[in-house]
């Protein structure tokens, strides 16, 4: 019998406490004397009243309903769900990093500033750019920052350009970020090799184009061999190139976007650089730029003068600030530790093994699923569930749910949009041959079930804490919070 964990509100019993604070040790005037009566809270908030043991049991029980990388593989394309090393967690938990107030005098935080400064340098070296800001709090935030930098650059030259070219295979954050800077998106289609269609690109390139946003390898896991040509074409029209760093895991030490013509590069520390995903965040999305865009970087960045590190905010043409303080410092600590653990050879090995793992899985699965692009992939690849849909009425969604019954997490599905019944698979370098084989075997078994026993796939999952959830009901009868009574 399945036990349903109640809401914490339903565990409440008036009078119970889970906190401990001292009595007030200074003269305590009545509240009405210190604050205007109209500003005071009337009714106490209806927060739960529980004991400490209830808090712990409730949240520990909830945690056990979750899947995580520390339990098993997440072959999610473009997410790079690699293992989060525990020494990085220990580093991030040091009081010497967690108990620092952002407004402390700089001489009291030299260790923290040095860590930030070095990370700026490491990312610049990895991306082939000149200067990095660690301020953006997520990839999408980094995209927005990059586009704002590009917008400011064009403005500084007296040009009003408001078009951003985005491939049809792009992640949804790309067009959403473009629109957040007042830009219009122009979609460019991919050719049969999976790269940007050069003729289509030429047709949309004009002097109104601010930027082209690209990730390379793209969301199909393919490296666009025309990268240099694309960069030339865009630059010739006065546009700039923004690199979406979601797929950097494929290329470290092998190629660098800055060398291939990109002017702005953003990184996802919670992907390539192993910081944990936290159930949706926090991540970090640092942005690196070539020299010509340095004046527009957000403030502050960290500077160095010999042995002294300091915050630099004298940047009159900066786009301003993207968030308060300096960025997700505690996330950067983990990425810093990761880079220091691997060194240059280790980082290159990471990318090589990531690419090796993806190609291995692709070839193992090739006989059983449609393979839209039959060529070496990079760190991820796409399959299509078209065959299973046409022959057995089994959709990619069903097969993904069936993977859950085998104790693994399914790959990304229905993205990128240009592949029908898409399955996007990225194993990362963290997985051993045994784990990869286990995953391949599960998908192969399911392909077989789709033929022999399609209903068990269509009604999956069967063995998870909850079965398939009614999203229509969730949307029609919105219940987004607990209400009393």
């Amino acid at each position: 019998m399945k036990r349903v964990e109640p809401l914490i509100f339903d565990l409440s019993s008036p009078g119970r406490v889970a906190y401990s604070l001292p009595a007030v040790d200074v003269p305590a005037a009545p509240l009405e004397r210190l604050l205007p009566a109209g500003a005071l809270r009337g009714r106490a908030p209806r927060l739960p009243e529980v004991s400490e043991i209830d808090v712990i049991r409730h949240f520990v029980r909830l945690s056990r309903l979750n899947y995580g990388v520390d339990l098993g593989m997440y072959p999610l394309g473009s997410c790079t769900m690699k293992y989060s090393p525990k020494i990085n967690e220990d580093a991030a938990r040091m009081a010497g990093f967690t108990e620092l107030h952002p407004y402390q005098p700089e001489e009291t935080v030299q260790g923290a500033l040095e860590l930030l400064y070095q990370t700026q340098c490491f990312l610049a070296a990895i991306g082939g750019v000149d200067k990095v800001s660690l301020q953006p709090a997520a990839g999408a935030h980094g995209e927005l920052t990059g586009l704002l930098i590009i917008k400011k650059y064009h403005e500084s030259r007296g040009e009003r350009r408001n078009k951003v070219i985005i491939p049809d295979s792009a992640h949804g954050t790309n067009p959403a970020s473009a629109v957040t800077c007042g830009m219009e998106t122009v979609e460019v289609k991919s050719d049969e090799r999976g790269g940007v269609d050069l003729d289509a690109l030429a047709a949309v390139l004009d002097e109104g184009v601010a930027a082209l946003m690209l990730t390379n390898p793209n969301t199909l896991g393919l490296f666009d061999e025309n990268m240099r040509r694309i960069a030339e074409m865009v630059h010739a029209k006065g546009g700039l190139l923004h690199y979406d760093g979601a797929n950097v895991n494929a290329i470290m030490g092998i190629t660098r976007p800055g060398d291939a013509g990109f002017d702005v590069v953003h990184f996802n520390l919670h992907k390539t650089f192993s910081t944990p995903h936290g159930g949706g965040g926090p991540g970090a999305g640092p942005v690196g730029v070539k020299k010509l865009l340095e004046p527009f970087l957000p403030v502050p960045t960290v500077g160095r003068d010999g042995e002294r590190f300091f915050l630099e905010d004298d940047r009159p043409q900066s786009i301003g600030r993207m968030k308060s303080f300096y960025g997700n410092f505690n996330v950067v600590v983990k990425a810093y530790a990761f880079i220091r653990s691997l060194g240059p050879d280790g980082l290159k090995r990471v990318s090589e093994d990531a690419v090796l793992n993806a190609n291995y899985l692709m070839r193992r699965l090739q006989p059983y699923f449609d393979l839209p692009y039959d060529r070496h992939c990079m760190h991820e690849f796409v399959l299509s569930g078209r065959r299973q849909k046409n022959e057995n009425g089994v959709r990619t969604l069903d097969m993904a749910k069936r993977v859950l019954d085998y104790g693994l997490h399914p790959p990304t599905n229905y993205f990128p949009l240009i592949v029908e019944e898409c399955l996007m698979i990225e194993p990362t370098e963290s997985e051993s041959v045994e784990t990869l084989d286990e995953f391949a075997d599960v998908l192969i078994t399911i392909a077989g079930e789709a033929k022999e026993n399609p209903d068990v796939v269509k009604s999956a999952p069967h063995d998870t804490p909850v079965l398939r959830l009614d999203e229509v009901l969730a949307a029609r009868q919105l219940n987004l919070r607990w209400k009393k009574g």
């Binding site: 999203e471 229509v472 949307a475 029609r476």
Partner: protein, 131 residues
């Protein structure tokens, strides 16, 4: 379902029916509602708002997608179907009837001439028109 014979149609699967008093009732077609799946929410325009032909006049949401609805003919919104606020699935059940979305006063008969007649639309759908 062969489409109703008293309507005109757009290539994006909206329909419009001219009423005796010269106003027009509009909504989305059976093809559209089937493609969307269970409709969970409809964002309707404000009464009095004016649209040109092909402007987005409403958004229809299913669980997995949100689709823009394009105005079949330019005009001003006279009435919207309040029933869709609580029962958005009416569009799924009866897209050409109870699932109507708005009534507009048509600004230009020229716009109507751009639209497809029922036989044309049936042919368009049969040939896999739109997506």
């Amino acid at each position: 379902m062969a489409c109703p014979q008293d309507l005109l149609f757009t290539r994006d699967h909206e329909w419009i029916r001219i009423q005796p008093d010269g106003t027009a009732r509009a909504g989305i077609c059976d093809f559209a509602q089937e493609h969307l799946g269970d409709i969970v929410f409809v964002e309707l325009p404000a009464v009095g708002k004016a649209f040109k032909q092909k402007d987005v006049f409403a958004v229809v949401e299913s669980v997995k997608a949100a689709s823009d609805c394009y105005c079949p003919a330019g005009g001003t919104v006279k009435e919207v179907n309040a029933r869709l606020v609580d029962e958005p699935a009416t569009i799924n059940k009866d897209p050409y009837g109870e699932g109507w979305m708005m009534v507009i006063s048509v600004a230009s008969r020229e716009d109507l001439r751009q639209l497809m007649k029922p036989e044309e639309y049936d042919k368009y759908v049969a040939e896999g028109g739109g997506h």
